[in-house]
Amino acid sequence: MSTTIWIILAAAVATYLTRIGGHLVMSRFERIHPRVEAGLNAVPAAVLTTLVAPEMLHAGPAEWLAIAVAALVALRGGLMAMFLAGAVVLIVARQFMG
Protein backbone atom coordinates (compact mmCIF):
# COMPACT_ATOMS: atom_id res chain seq x y z
CA MET A 1 0.00 0.00 0.00
CA SER A 2 1.13 3.56 -0.64
CA THR A 3 2.36 5.92 2.06
CA THR A 4 -0.76 8.02 1.54
CA ILE A 5 -3.03 5.10 2.41
CA TRP A 6 -1.01 4.42 5.57
CA ILE A 7 -1.25 8.08 6.58
CA ILE A 8 -5.02 8.00 6.08
CA LEU A 9 -5.48 4.78 8.07
CA ALA A 10 -3.22 5.96 10.91
CA ALA A 11 -5.08 9.27 10.97
CA ALA A 12 -8.37 7.38 11.12
CA VAL A 13 -7.18 5.33 14.12
CA ALA A 14 -5.81 8.43 15.85
CA THR A 15 -9.09 10.26 15.27
CA TYR A 16 -11.15 7.36 16.56
CA LEU A 17 -9.02 7.32 19.71
CA THR A 18 -9.90 10.97 20.37
CA ARG A 19 -13.59 10.22 19.87
CA ILE A 20 -13.79 7.18 22.13
CA GLY A 21 -10.88 8.10 24.41
CA GLY A 22 -12.67 10.77 26.36
CA HIS A 23 -15.32 8.30 27.41
CA LEU A 24 -12.88 5.47 28.11
CA VAL A 25 -10.30 7.48 30.05
CA MET A 26 -11.74 10.69 31.43
CA SER A 27 -15.00 9.21 32.70
CA ARG A 28 -12.91 7.28 35.23
CA PHE A 29 -11.93 10.51 36.95
CA GLU A 30 -14.29 12.39 39.19
CA ARG A 31 -12.84 15.72 38.07
CA ILE A 32 -10.41 16.90 35.45
CA HIS A 33 -7.66 19.09 36.87
CA PRO A 34 -8.59 22.71 36.08
CA ARG A 35 -5.23 23.40 34.46
CA VAL A 36 -5.56 20.35 32.22
CA GLU A 37 -9.07 21.44 31.31
CA ALA A 38 -7.91 24.98 30.57
CA GLY A 39 -5.17 23.56 28.36
CA LEU A 40 -7.60 21.25 26.56
CA ASN A 41 -9.99 24.14 26.01
CA ALA A 42 -7.22 26.03 24.25
CA VAL A 43 -6.24 23.16 21.95
CA PRO A 44 -8.34 23.86 18.84
CA ALA A 45 -7.72 27.63 18.70
CA ALA A 46 -4.00 27.12 19.41
CA VAL A 47 -3.53 24.46 16.71
CA LEU A 48 -5.57 26.19 14.04
CA THR A 49 -3.92 29.57 14.61
CA THR A 50 -0.55 28.09 13.64
CA LEU A 51 -2.02 27.23 10.24
CA VAL A 52 -3.03 30.85 9.57
CA ALA A 53 -0.43 33.14 11.15
CA PRO A 54 2.74 32.06 9.27
CA GLU A 55 0.81 32.20 5.98
CA MET A 56 0.48 35.95 6.53
CA LEU A 57 4.27 36.33 6.26
CA HIS A 58 4.55 35.46 2.59
CA ALA A 59 1.13 36.73 1.60
CA GLY A 60 0.44 40.00 -0.22
CA PRO A 61 -2.13 42.82 0.09
CA ALA A 62 -4.84 40.75 -1.64
CA GLU A 63 -4.51 37.95 0.92
CA TRP A 64 -4.32 40.35 3.86
CA LEU A 65 -7.47 42.10 2.67
CA ALA A 66 -9.29 38.80 2.22
CA ILE A 67 -8.30 37.63 5.71
CA ALA A 68 -9.33 40.94 7.28
CA VAL A 69 -12.74 40.94 5.60
CA ALA A 70 -13.28 37.26 6.47
CA ALA A 71 -12.42 37.95 10.12
CA LEU A 72 -14.91 40.83 10.27
CA VAL A 73 -17.68 38.77 8.65
CA ALA A 74 -16.93 35.93 11.10
CA LEU A 75 -17.86 38.24 13.99
CA ARG A 76 -21.44 38.32 12.70
CA GLY A 77 -22.01 35.50 10.24
CA GLY A 78 -21.37 31.77 10.24
CA LEU A 79 -18.45 29.83 8.86
CA MET A 80 -19.90 29.61 5.36
CA ALA A 81 -20.62 33.34 5.12
CA MET A 82 -17.13 34.32 6.26
CA PHE A 83 -15.54 31.77 3.96
CA LEU A 84 -17.43 32.95 0.90
CA ALA A 85 -16.75 36.62 1.73
CA GLY A 86 -13.04 35.89 2.10
CA ALA A 87 -12.93 33.89 -1.13
CA VAL A 88 -14.74 36.56 -3.16
CA VAL A 89 -12.53 39.36 -1.81
CA LEU A 90 -9.44 37.24 -2.52
CA ILE A 91 -10.39 36.51 -6.13
CA VAL A 92 -11.43 40.10 -6.88
CA ALA A 93 -8.44 41.66 -5.07
CA ARG A 94 -5.99 39.43 -6.94
CA GLN A 95 -7.27 40.88 -10.20
CA PHE A 96 -6.21 44.35 -9.09
CA MET A 97 -3.35 43.79 -6.67
CA GLY A 98 -1.65 40.86 -8.36
Binding site: A11, M26, T49, L51, I67, A70, R94
Partner: protein, 242 residues
Protein backbone atom coordinates in the same frame (compact mmCIF):
# COMPACT_ATOMS: atom_id res chain seq x y z
CA UNK B 1 -46.92 14.76 11.65
CA UNK B 2 -49.96 13.80 13.72
CA UNK B 3 -49.65 11.77 16.88
CA UNK B 4 -51.53 8.85 15.36
CA UNK B 5 -48.95 8.32 12.63
CA UNK B 6 -46.19 8.35 15.22
CA UNK B 7 -47.99 5.74 17.28
CA UNK B 8 -48.49 3.46 14.28
CA UNK B 9 -44.80 3.33 13.45
CA UNK B 10 -42.13 1.61 15.46
CA UNK B 11 -40.43 4.00 17.88
CA UNK B 12 -37.06 3.44 16.21
CA UNK B 13 -38.29 4.71 12.83
CA UNK B 14 -39.72 7.95 14.18
CA UNK B 15 -36.58 8.44 16.27
CA UNK B 16 -34.47 7.99 13.15
CA UNK B 17 -36.46 10.55 11.18
CA UNK B 18 -36.39 13.01 14.06
CA UNK B 19 -32.61 12.79 13.95
CA UNK B 20 -32.52 12.91 10.15
CA UNK B 21 -34.44 16.21 10.17
CA UNK B 22 -31.74 17.71 12.37
CA UNK B 23 -29.06 16.48 9.97
CA UNK B 24 -30.31 18.62 7.07
CA UNK B 25 -28.70 21.93 8.09
CA UNK B 26 -25.48 20.10 8.94
CA UNK B 27 -25.43 18.57 5.44
CA UNK B 28 -26.08 21.94 3.81
CA UNK B 29 -23.31 23.63 5.82
CA UNK B 30 -20.73 20.86 5.43
CA UNK B 31 -21.46 19.95 1.79
CA UNK B 32 -19.44 22.74 0.16
CA UNK B 33 -16.49 21.95 2.42
CA UNK B 34 -16.65 18.29 1.40
CA UNK B 35 -16.43 19.34 -2.26
CA UNK B 36 -13.64 21.78 -1.38
CA UNK B 37 -11.78 19.10 0.56
CA UNK B 38 -11.95 16.72 -2.40
CA UNK B 39 -10.70 19.35 -4.82
CA UNK B 40 -7.88 20.50 -2.52
CA UNK B 41 -6.88 16.93 -1.71
CA UNK B 42 -6.33 16.20 -5.40
CA UNK B 43 -4.55 19.56 -5.75
CA UNK B 44 -2.19 18.49 -2.94
CA UNK B 45 -1.35 15.13 -4.50
CA UNK B 46 -4.10 12.77 -3.37
CA UNK B 47 -5.87 10.44 -5.78
CA UNK B 48 -9.66 10.55 -6.03
CA UNK B 49 -9.89 7.28 -4.12
CA UNK B 50 -7.55 8.53 -1.38
CA UNK B 51 -9.64 11.66 -0.93
CA UNK B 52 -12.77 9.54 -0.66
CA UNK B 53 -11.09 7.09 1.73
CA UNK B 54 -9.90 9.86 4.02
CA UNK B 55 -13.42 11.28 4.29
CA UNK B 56 -14.85 7.83 4.97
CA UNK B 57 -12.19 6.78 7.50
CA UNK B 58 -11.41 10.02 9.36
CA UNK B 59 -14.70 11.94 8.92
CA UNK B 60 -13.40 15.16 10.45
CA UNK B 61 -13.42 18.16 8.14
CA UNK B 62 -10.90 20.48 9.78
CA UNK B 63 -8.40 17.70 10.48
CA UNK B 64 -8.67 16.45 6.90
CA UNK B 65 -7.92 19.95 5.60
CA UNK B 66 -4.90 20.15 7.92
CA UNK B 67 -3.78 16.71 6.74
CA UNK B 68 -3.81 17.49 3.03
CA UNK B 69 -2.22 20.91 3.62
CA UNK B 70 0.72 19.29 5.40
CA UNK B 71 0.79 16.45 2.86
CA UNK B 72 1.14 19.06 0.10
CA UNK B 73 4.07 20.60 2.03
CA UNK B 74 5.76 17.15 2.10
CA UNK B 75 5.75 17.02 5.87
CA UNK B 76 6.88 13.72 7.46
CA UNK B 77 3.98 11.19 7.61
CA UNK B 78 4.12 10.73 11.39
CA UNK B 79 3.87 14.48 11.85
CA UNK B 80 0.83 14.64 9.56
CA UNK B 81 -0.87 11.98 11.66
CA UNK B 82 0.14 13.76 14.86
CA UNK B 83 -1.27 17.06 13.55
CA UNK B 84 -4.56 15.40 12.63
CA UNK B 85 -4.63 13.90 16.12
CA UNK B 86 -3.96 17.35 17.59
CA UNK B 87 -6.74 19.01 15.62
CA UNK B 88 -9.17 16.24 16.57
CA UNK B 89 -8.14 16.21 20.21
CA UNK B 90 -11.16 18.33 21.17
CA UNK B 91 -13.33 15.23 20.59
CA UNK B 92 -11.94 13.85 23.84
CA UNK B 93 -14.05 16.44 25.64
CA UNK B 94 -17.19 15.63 23.61
CA UNK B 95 -16.63 11.96 24.23
CA UNK B 96 -16.21 12.45 27.96
CA UNK B 97 -19.31 14.65 28.15
CA UNK B 98 -21.74 12.60 26.05
CA UNK B 99 -20.42 9.17 27.03
CA UNK B 100 -22.62 8.72 30.10
CA UNK B 101 -25.74 9.30 27.99
CA UNK B 102 -24.82 6.54 25.56
CA UNK B 103 -23.52 4.09 28.15
CA UNK B 104 -26.81 2.10 28.28
CA UNK B 105 -26.49 1.05 24.60
CA UNK B 106 -24.98 -2.26 23.49
CA UNK B 107 -21.18 -1.95 23.15
CA UNK B 108 -21.18 -2.31 19.35
CA UNK B 109 -23.63 0.58 19.04
CA UNK B 110 -21.46 2.72 21.31
CA UNK B 111 -18.38 1.84 19.23
CA UNK B 112 -20.18 2.96 16.06
CA UNK B 113 -21.50 6.12 17.71
CA UNK B 114 -18.01 7.32 18.71
CA UNK B 115 -16.77 6.85 15.16
CA UNK B 116 -19.16 9.57 13.96
CA UNK B 117 -18.97 11.92 16.96
CA UNK B 118 -18.35 15.22 15.15
CA UNK B 119 -18.85 18.78 16.44
CA UNK B 120 -22.47 19.10 15.14
CA UNK B 121 -23.27 15.53 16.16
CA UNK B 122 -22.14 16.30 19.70
CA UNK B 123 -24.23 19.46 19.70
CA UNK B 124 -27.34 17.60 18.49
CA UNK B 125 -26.95 14.82 21.05
CA UNK B 126 -26.25 17.26 23.88
CA UNK B 127 -29.34 19.31 23.01
CA UNK B 128 -31.45 16.13 23.06
CA UNK B 129 -30.15 15.38 26.54
CA UNK B 130 -30.98 18.92 27.66
CA UNK B 131 -34.56 18.48 26.45
CA UNK B 132 -34.86 15.78 29.11
CA UNK B 133 -35.26 12.82 26.75
CA UNK B 134 -33.03 9.83 26.19
CA UNK B 135 -30.71 9.73 23.22
CA UNK B 136 -31.60 6.55 21.35
CA UNK B 137 -29.30 4.81 18.91
CA UNK B 138 -31.75 5.29 16.04
CA UNK B 139 -32.08 9.03 16.78
CA UNK B 140 -28.30 9.36 16.93
CA UNK B 141 -27.84 7.47 13.66
CA UNK B 142 -30.63 9.46 12.03
CA UNK B 143 -28.70 12.64 12.74
CA UNK B 144 -25.30 11.21 11.78
CA UNK B 145 -25.82 8.85 8.84
CA UNK B 146 -27.06 11.38 6.23
CA UNK B 147 -24.15 13.68 7.10
CA UNK B 148 -21.66 10.82 6.82
CA UNK B 149 -23.01 9.70 3.44
CA UNK B 150 -23.15 13.21 1.98
CA UNK B 151 -19.68 14.07 3.33
CA UNK B 152 -18.02 11.03 1.75
CA UNK B 153 -19.97 11.24 -1.53
CA UNK B 154 -19.33 14.97 -2.00
CA UNK B 155 -15.63 14.54 -1.15
CA UNK B 156 -15.36 11.99 -3.95
CA UNK B 157 -17.22 14.28 -6.33
CA UNK B 158 -15.05 17.26 -5.40
CA UNK B 159 -11.91 15.20 -5.97
CA UNK B 160 -13.22 13.91 -9.30
CA UNK B 161 -14.08 17.35 -10.63
CA UNK B 162 -11.15 19.03 -8.87
CA UNK B 163 -8.81 17.29 -11.29
CA UNK B 164 -10.46 19.22 -14.09
CA UNK B 165 -9.63 22.66 -12.64
CA UNK B 166 -6.59 23.62 -14.72
CA UNK B 167 -5.25 26.62 -12.77
CA UNK B 168 -6.20 26.53 -9.12
CA UNK B 169 -3.95 29.52 -8.37
CA UNK B 170 -6.09 31.88 -10.46
CA UNK B 171 -9.19 30.87 -8.53
CA UNK B 172 -7.48 31.55 -5.22
CA UNK B 173 -7.68 27.89 -4.19
CA UNK B 174 -4.17 28.04 -2.70
CA UNK B 175 -5.28 30.57 -0.08
CA UNK B 176 -8.74 29.17 0.72
CA UNK B 177 -7.48 26.93 3.52
CA UNK B 178 -6.00 29.75 5.64
CA UNK B 179 -9.34 31.59 5.32
CA UNK B 180 -11.20 28.44 6.32
CA UNK B 181 -8.89 27.85 9.30
CA UNK B 182 -9.32 31.44 10.40
CA UNK B 183 -13.09 30.79 10.37
CA UNK B 184 -12.59 27.81 12.68
CA UNK B 185 -10.36 29.86 14.97
CA UNK B 186 -13.03 32.58 15.13
CA UNK B 187 -15.64 29.93 15.95
CA UNK B 188 -13.91 29.27 19.27
CA UNK B 189 -13.81 32.95 20.29
CA UNK B 190 -16.27 32.47 23.18
CA UNK B 191 -13.78 30.20 24.92
CA UNK B 192 -11.92 31.52 27.98
CA UNK B 193 -8.55 33.10 27.17
CA UNK B 194 -9.28 32.84 23.43
CA UNK B 195 -7.55 36.06 22.35
CA UNK B 196 -4.36 35.63 24.39
CA UNK B 197 -4.15 31.96 23.33
CA UNK B 198 -4.50 32.92 19.67
CA UNK B 199 -1.94 35.69 20.12
CA UNK B 200 0.52 33.37 21.87
CA UNK B 201 0.13 30.68 19.20
CA UNK B 202 0.36 33.18 16.36
CA UNK B 203 3.57 34.78 17.65
CA UNK B 204 5.15 31.45 18.60
CA UNK B 205 4.31 29.83 15.26
CA UNK B 206 5.67 32.78 13.27
CA UNK B 207 8.89 32.85 15.33
CA UNK B 208 9.23 29.06 15.02
CA UNK B 209 8.53 29.26 11.28
CA UNK B 210 11.36 31.77 10.90
CA UNK B 211 13.94 30.18 13.15
CA UNK B 212 13.09 26.47 13.36
CA UNK B 213 11.25 25.95 10.10
CA UNK B 214 8.18 24.20 8.79
CA UNK B 215 6.53 21.93 9.92
CA UNK B 216 7.68 22.42 13.51
CA UNK B 217 5.96 25.79 13.70
CA UNK B 218 2.64 23.92 14.02
CA UNK B 219 3.58 21.89 17.11
CA UNK B 220 5.60 24.70 18.73
CA UNK B 221 2.90 27.31 18.11
CA UNK B 222 0.13 25.04 19.38
CA UNK B 223 2.14 24.09 22.48
CA UNK B 224 2.72 27.76 23.29
CA UNK B 225 -1.03 28.48 23.27
CA UNK B 226 -1.97 25.38 25.27
CA UNK B 227 0.74 25.92 27.92
CA UNK B 228 -0.21 29.57 28.18
CA UNK B 229 -3.83 28.60 28.90
CA UNK B 230 -2.80 25.88 31.36
CA UNK B 231 -0.55 28.16 33.41
CA UNK B 232 -2.80 31.19 33.59
CA UNK B 233 -4.46 31.84 36.95
CA UNK B 234 -7.66 29.84 37.12
CA UNK B 235 -10.81 31.85 37.59
CA UNK B 236 -13.83 29.82 38.67
CA UNK B 237 -16.07 31.75 36.27
CA UNK B 238 -14.07 30.62 33.26
CA UNK B 239 -14.64 26.95 33.99
CA UNK B 240 -17.34 25.46 31.85
CA UNK B 241 -18.59 22.15 30.61
CA UNK B 242 -17.49 21.37 27.06
Amino acid sequence: MSSSTIAERPRTASDFWEGARLSVPVMVASGPFAVLFGALAVDNGFSVFEAFLMSAAVFGGASQMVGIELFGQHVAPWLIVLSIFAVNFRHVLYSAAIGRHLAHWPLIQQAIAYFILTDPQYAIAERKVESGRKVSFSFYMGAALPVYLSWTALSGLGAFFGRMIPDTQALGVDFLLPIYFLGLVMGFRKRPLWLPVVAASAVASIVAYKFVGSPWHVSIGALAGVLFAAFMPIRPSTRHEP
